[in-house]
Symmetry: C2
Subunit: 223 residues, 2 copies
Amino acid sequence: MSASPFNDDAIAAVYQAIHGRRDIREFIPGPLPEGLLARLYAAAHAAPSVGYMQPWRLLHISDPALRGALVQLVDEERLRTAAKLPSRAAEFLQLKVDGIKSCAEVIVVALMDGCEKHIFGKRTLPEMALASAACAIQNMWLAARAEGIGLGWVSFFDPAALARLCAMPTGAKPIAILCLGHVASFPERPLLETLGWGQRLPLEAVVFENRWPEDAKPTPTAY
Amino acid sequence: MSASPFNDDAIAAVYQAIHGRRDIREFIPGPLPEGLLARLYAAAHAAPSVGYMQPWRLLHISDPALRGALVQLVDEERLRTAAKLPSRAAEFLQLKVDGIKSCAEVIVVALMDGCEKHIFGKRTLPEMALASAACAIQNMWLAARAEGIGLGWVSFFDPAALARLCAMPTGAKPIAILCLGHVASFPERPLLETLGWGQRLPLEAVVFENRWPEDAKPTPTAY
């Protein structure tokens, strides 16, 4: 494969997907385009993985009762989270944290069992299995965005309870409930920014030269 | 932003970046294209983050002595890893695990200090801060690929030692040494596959319907 087969339009398309991607919680009805799920699975499976372990497992949720159980699970965690955010609980409870009920398709992503056996590239950083799976999800997110389909990554759940619901073996761990579907539009800015939950940090606050600056300000906590 | 401003060529470009991205350890000389680093920083900073916490910190390593210390750090961990892989140590030691010496630019990626204060979307999954930072790295990886530039994610290091070298505050944690530079070509297949370290799993082994199949085979361990 040559080093640069991308022309200017193709390069621009990749940046457009990166900058136009949003975490979606509001969907409009309609089935996904034909073949999209298969393309997203292939995109996820093309992700990098530490030591080539390919730790991601994708569970397509087509059972309506199971989807209903996920709705319940997320709502329970939403309330528990609010209880831990006393100063912002009311504000938090006004936020919609998922679109599981209204999205076209739901995919649960989990780390496989047996991750701990892999040493290559993760002896000192066992969490690299999760990093690989997150890259797989980002691939799906960008591919969906390019195809005009919204995706939301929901992490409000008790992982042990979700593992039980999906009959996961010991050692496997769910990391995401992904909601996929059509959207009225992709918001110009992240929803949590528009709603005043947090602010985009200036780039200078996240890019340093060689060493962490002594005068680096602590990041404001959004909770 | 309309739901689908991507034409077929633009969609194809995004998939081409996803499927053509490789973990690069062999670089050829030459400076990065003008402005590329700034575009990659912006791509990273456009990543999703749980509760909008933006936990990624990017340290551009321009100090040659510091780059030399990273080379040393990775080599030490390479030998420690080999010692943990008795059955495949010789095979492992023949692998090149990084291109820190020969690449054009090095970026260390770290999680910010104070991640534990953030509850939103990570009360039950504190590792979601790392997931967000991994998405930021995947954005850089795909953008670099589109621009014809290779990137390698090196995770062979003692994180505490790297944190000290880069004067990171308590609570911050390095997760990646990224190597960036020109490549002779992007390999058709992942290097670890070509070298027989691991095999690409069939898609059926990673995509399930609703529940984990009882007869799912355990993944062969590559160590």
